[in-house]
């Protein structure tokens, strides 16, 4: 589990901070060791199986219209064969600048069983098969790079990011854990914890990570029939923006790797409506990252969004799509060579489909991820194929990075 080990690294440092922080954590200048490299990588796990055929639409394939029926909205054209889902229209300026790209017809080595649970486990483990190992590929990558400090890598938001699990230190935080107690309660909480170094250090770290500019007032419950608990400081609909903004803040500092999830892709019914909220969150997130890190850092940033598997080529009886195989990977950022759809397109004819139902995966999704790691962190191909993604054959360099 990431937390166990990341905490240990954190505690080692917090013992150095000691009591001065206790007096006024907000005023104590913190300095962190310089990060070992300068590029920024954001890995977004799209949980629930994003429908790659709807997001990056192969409208040039003769079978597409028949498989998918009438699709609403004006889908902006990408390259004369693929078009982008209209809900991502706001990202077209990035595409035009070469800062948005896709790899199509990719999947993990997971086949046939189509369980979210196992599919995500395999995606995050980065292995050929689920073999009981509990660490994730981003953590193994950190272990290879070395020189990792407590905030070099950050798992953000709710829910475990297994992709960062493992022995290398990883920080984690969810922006809606912001401490919003009254000043008096905070002082008392510091006092009751002051003789317990571990609790005290964690509380002070939480205070530092909390967004103190935003003070929605004390958490203590007001007597309101409808709201027995104080509402969370951020409405759930905006939680993803908080995650993106927090991520951007960290990336402007010492953090080089960040990972979080965007959920809501399991579109079994009424696809055209069901996929919109998740795509909206994805577009918001990418734009908030871009705005949040600033132009200079954005130029060094690669955002990679991956999902556990794709969905069926054909719409089902309720206008949705069921669990499939091949899907798409999304890339954004100034560090990537975007403006194109990468991948080896298999076609949508029935005979070309995997088991005559899913987009045929023509490439292991770990390969583009590995090429990006190679470019960003300078790992050699042998390490990537043996340690980070054991069993992977990366193939030729697709040139995903500038």
């Amino acid at each position: 589990m990431t937390k166990a080990l990341s905490r240990r690294a954190f505690l080692a440092r917090s013992s150095l901070i000691g009591c001065s922080v206790a007096a006024s954590p907000l005023l104590t200048p913190m300095s962190f060791a310089a990060a070992p490299w300068d590029t920024r990588l954001v890995v977004i796990i799209l949980r629930g199986a994003m429908d790659g055929l709807d997001v990056v639409r192969p409208y040039g394939a003769p079978e597409y219209a028949e498989l998918r029926g009438a699709l609403g909205g004006e889908a902006p054209d990408l390259d004369g064969f693929f078009a982008l889902h209209p809900a991502l229209n706001r990202l077209m300026p990035l595409w035009a600048k070469g800062q948005l790209g896709f790899v199509h017809a990719v999947s993990t080595p997971y086949r046939d069983k189509r369980s979210h649970f196992d599919g995500q486990d395999l995606l995050e483990a980065g292995t050929d098969a689920l073999n009981g190992s509990r660490d994730g590929w981003l953590n193994r990558m950190l272990g290879e790079v070395g020189g990792i400090e407590s905030r070099t890598a950050f798992a953000i938001g709710h829910g475990e990011m297994k992709v960062l699990n493992g022995p290398a230190p990883v920080a984690d935080w969810s922006p809606d854990a912001n401490l919003v107690l009254s000043p008096q309660a905070l002082r008392l909480a510091q006092m009751v914890m002051q003789d317990d170094p571990a609790f005290h250090a964690a509380l002070n770290e939480a205070l530092m990570l909390s967004d103190m500019d935003e003070q929605p007032g004390p958490l203590s419950v007001t007597v309101d029939e409808d709201e027995p608990m104080a509402p969370p400081p951020t409405p759930p609909s905006k939680a993803h923006l908080k995650v993106a903004e927090f991520t951007a803040d960290q990336l402007r500092g010492d953090t080089r790797i960040a990972s979080f999830s965007i959920n809501g892709w399991d579109t079994h019914n009424n696809q055209s409506r069901a996929i919109q909220p998740a795509l909206g969150r994805l577009a918001d997130t990418i734009l908030a990252l871009q705005a949040g890190v600033g132009e200079a850092v954005w130029q060094k940033t690669a955002v990679v969004a991956m999902t556990e598997f794709g969905r069926t080529a054909q719409l089902n009886g309720t206008g949705g799509t069921d669990h499939g195989t091949g899907g798409a990977m999304i890339m954004a950022g100034g560090a990537i060579r975007g403006g194109r759809v990468y991948g080896d397109w298999p076609g949508l004819g029935e005979a070309s489909l995997f088991e005559r139902r899913d987009l045929m995966p023509t490439q292991d999704v770990r390969a583009p991820a590995a090429w990006i790691l190679r470019g960003m962190a300078g790992l050699d191909q042998a390490t990537l194929e043996r340690v980070v993604f054991p069993g992977l054959q990366m193939g030729g360099d697709p040139g995903l990075l500038l």
């Binding site: 937390k3 475990e160 008392l188 964690a202 909390s210 958490l219």
Partner: protein
């Protein structure tokens, strides 16, 4: 030092209660454990058999709507799913109430300990609420049995067979595979975890070949929702298996040799040591006194894994009482012991709205890092204290401490009395001061629950 009633409640139960008297001695703790399980009767949870009947019913509803696309049938199916989600929440509340009102907190802690040791959960939608019935059937009645009995109950339980893919494992030379080559073939998942997690432990005296042989012996263990556990001979790999130097089974394949192998694993001295060590870590310290582990191991071996004898050894050893309170309560135990400290009233809980339960139980557990009955993998929740003392975890605990109690207990207790009834002799001057100096009663209660004296045991 030696036995202390207050420490007994904290270390081996869900903390002190203002209304339930603590146990008088280690012997009294064991007597209570051997007595009938009152909490299971007072706050019932479905058996897996009852749960399976719901699954069968709901699958029928789903089929009906998928066939006809009829809106009414779809609504009937959805209603069944919704009702089950509510039942799942109700079971979580009852689990909290058991911890709150029991006279034998040790039983509830042991149920949680073994449920974690034998982690299983549903991997598909319909089975998402199946963990509580699994615990009710396979774990709870066996916490006072032998380890071998519990192991057999777990390994033949439908939820474990589902969770670790045993139900689809087929012998490469089985009749079923010969007839249908689309079957998956051998799956080693359960066999590996039985050796690595459940019995011998990682680093135990077994090889990859032993795992494979055990997996072959396990072929045939499967289940159906209408009949429960089944041994399907057609799935079984023909011939005998050699596991750690001993031969099991032969033709025709039977369940008996599987249980025999489980029994042998259960009484193996390396298993004894693994279990003794886990108990000591869980209840006493992340780095337990070696003499404690040795003492419990010895009793385990001597008794053939008789769990009552094993607990007796744990409770009678001085280290059980003299070790400083360093273990951090995981989030579920933190919240459950908060309920107990507040003596949360079952009648009040019964009229809470579902949203209240989400805000005071389901969401906080997720935010503290321990979503209800949903651990990441078969290795369960971490024992190391550092896993829980994270900035986010501590922030969320503090937040829960100042905001949830008044939802659970509208008539909050007087703070100084609450310090005494909750922390007893372990209240330090900072907590006393904070409980007096807080601006509101809810903050005062919150400071007591946020104090390390409450969070450690």
């Amino acid at each position: 030092m030696g036995f202390s009633a207050q420490l007994a409640e904290m270390r081996f139960g869900y903390g002190m209660s203002p209304v339930v008297a603590p146990p008088a001695s280690p012997e009294a703790m064991l007597t209570a454990l051997a007595a009938p399980d009152e909490m299971a009767t007072r706050f019932p949870i479905d058996s897996f058999g009852q749960f399976s009947a719901w699954v069968v019913e709901t699958r029928k509803l789903r089929k009906a709507f998928q066939k006809t696309k009829d809106q009414e049938k779809r609504e009937a199916y959805r209603a069944a799913r919704r009702a089950q989600n509510e039942v799942g929440m109700e079971w979580a509340m009852r689990a909290m109430l058991r911890c709150t009102h029991t006279q034998c907190g040790f039983r509830e802690r042991l149920v949680a300990f073994w449920a974690d040791h034998f982690t299983a959960k549903g991997k598909i939608g319909l089975l998402r609420t199946a963990t509580a019935p699994y615990i009710e059937d396979a774990i709870r009645p066996n916490v006072t049995a032998t380890f071998g009995d519990m192991l057999s109950a777990v390994v033949t339980h439908p939820l474990m067979l589902h969770f670790l893919d045993q139900n689809r494992s087929t012998g490469p030379n089985s009749k079923a595979v010969k007839r249908n080559d689309r079957l998956d073939g051998l799956n080693e998942n359960l066999a590996r975890e039985v050796m690595e997690l459940h019995t011998l432990g990682v680093g135990g005296p077994y090889s990859q070949d032993d795992v494979r042989q055990l997996a072959e012996l396990f072929t045939g263990l499967t289940f159906g929702f209408d009949g429960g556990f089944q041994f399907r001979r057609g799935f079984a790999e023909p011939g005998a298996e050699q596991i750690m130097g001993k031969s099991y089974g032969g033709d025709p394949a039977r369940l008996g040799p599987v249980l025999e192998a489980l029994h042998d694993l259960a009484v193996h001295p390396v298993t004894a040591r693994h279990i003794a060590s886990k108990l000591a870590v869980h209840f006493v310290s992340d780095t337990p006194d070696e003499s404690l582990v040795a003492h419990v191991t010895e009793r385990y071996v001597a008794s053939g894994g008789d769990l009552m004898a094993v607990y007796g050894a744990l409770l009678e050893h001085p280290a059980a009482w003299d070790t400083p309170r360093a273990n951090v309560k995981p989030p579920v135990d933190f919240i459950a012991s908060g309920w107990r400290a507040l003596a949360v009233d079952p009648d009040h809980v019964a009229q809470l709205r579902r949203r209240d339960m989400r805000r005071t139980l389901v969401n906080p557990l997720r935010d503290m890092g321990q979503p209800w009955q949903d651990p990441n993998g078969p290795d369960g929740w971490p024992e190391q204290d550092e896993a829980w003392i994270t900035p986010q975890g501590v922030a969320m605990r503090l937040r829960w401490a100042v905001s949830a109690p008044q939802v659970l207990c509208p008539d909050l207790p007087e703070p100084m009395g609450f310090v005494a009834s909750t922390l007893g002799d372990f209240a330090d001057e900072h907590v006393q001061f904070a409980a007096r100096a807080a601006e509101s009663q809810s903050d005062a209660i919150g400071m007591v629950l946020a104090a390390p004296a409450f969070q450690r045991r």
